[in-house]
Symmetry: C2
Subunit: 124 residues, 2 copies
């Protein structure tokens, strides 16, 4: 049976929380076996657990805050916008991508595509 709206919403909220303050392994555990990650859209699609782990490892150790801004769920797919604030030295980087995900029957992420470009990054 397809994952429920609440289950999907829970996965999204946990994903956003973990991107801000989790480990790469915790994030990858939200993904289904065989899942794909394309971040940003147009870049090479990552399709192995190792390559997805490598992608999120780049976030580990950064001082970050993440907030879910808006979610729209349609069946077993969803689009949502979240804000990720990263502090590095004296600078603060703010990015709020729109991610599109599909989900398997257990509410695990089957695919993720992140819509953003360099122009969307604010530095202060």
């Amino acid at each position: 049976m397809a994952a429920s709206r609440d289950t999907i919403l829970g996965t999204i909220q946990r994903y956003v929380d973990l991107v801000g303050a989790g480990t790469a392994a915790e994030i990858v555990d939200l993904y289904a076996v065989g899942a794909t990650v394309e971040d940003p859209v147009g870049s090479e699609v990552r399709s192995t657990r190792e390559s997805i782990l490598e992608f999120y490892s780049g976030l580990e150790g950064l001082e970050q805050q993440s907030t879910l801004l808006s979610v729209r769920i349609a069946g077993t797919e969803a689009a949502f916008q979240f804000e990720l604030i990263t502090k590095a030295g004296d600078q603060t980087y703010t990015l709020s991508p729109i991610d599109v995900m599909t989900f398997d029957d257990d509410g695990r992420i089957a695919s993720m595509r992140a819509f953003w470009a360099g122009e969307d990054m604010a530095v202060s």
Copy 2:
């Protein structure tokens, strides 16, 4: 050559404006030949000009206001959220879907998928 970021942004802004206050024919003119529309995601994909025209004809004559809330463009694809307020009698319906579009080299919409569900509609 692929459509520029500015061209894509122009198409999106015009799309949102027309959904609020344009005719179905004006909206369909933003679409490329052979384009597809899936609104909401999970519903039947419309792939002929006639069926897309029929879809937007349902909006004609309604008292509506539309506002683009947020756009993220990645290459020749984009995700954006907009608010559509519809007044019907004493009631006001507010919906802010997240749409995902791909664009052809001329900046015309090659595909549109709208993420929303009944739960996202506010009635006041």
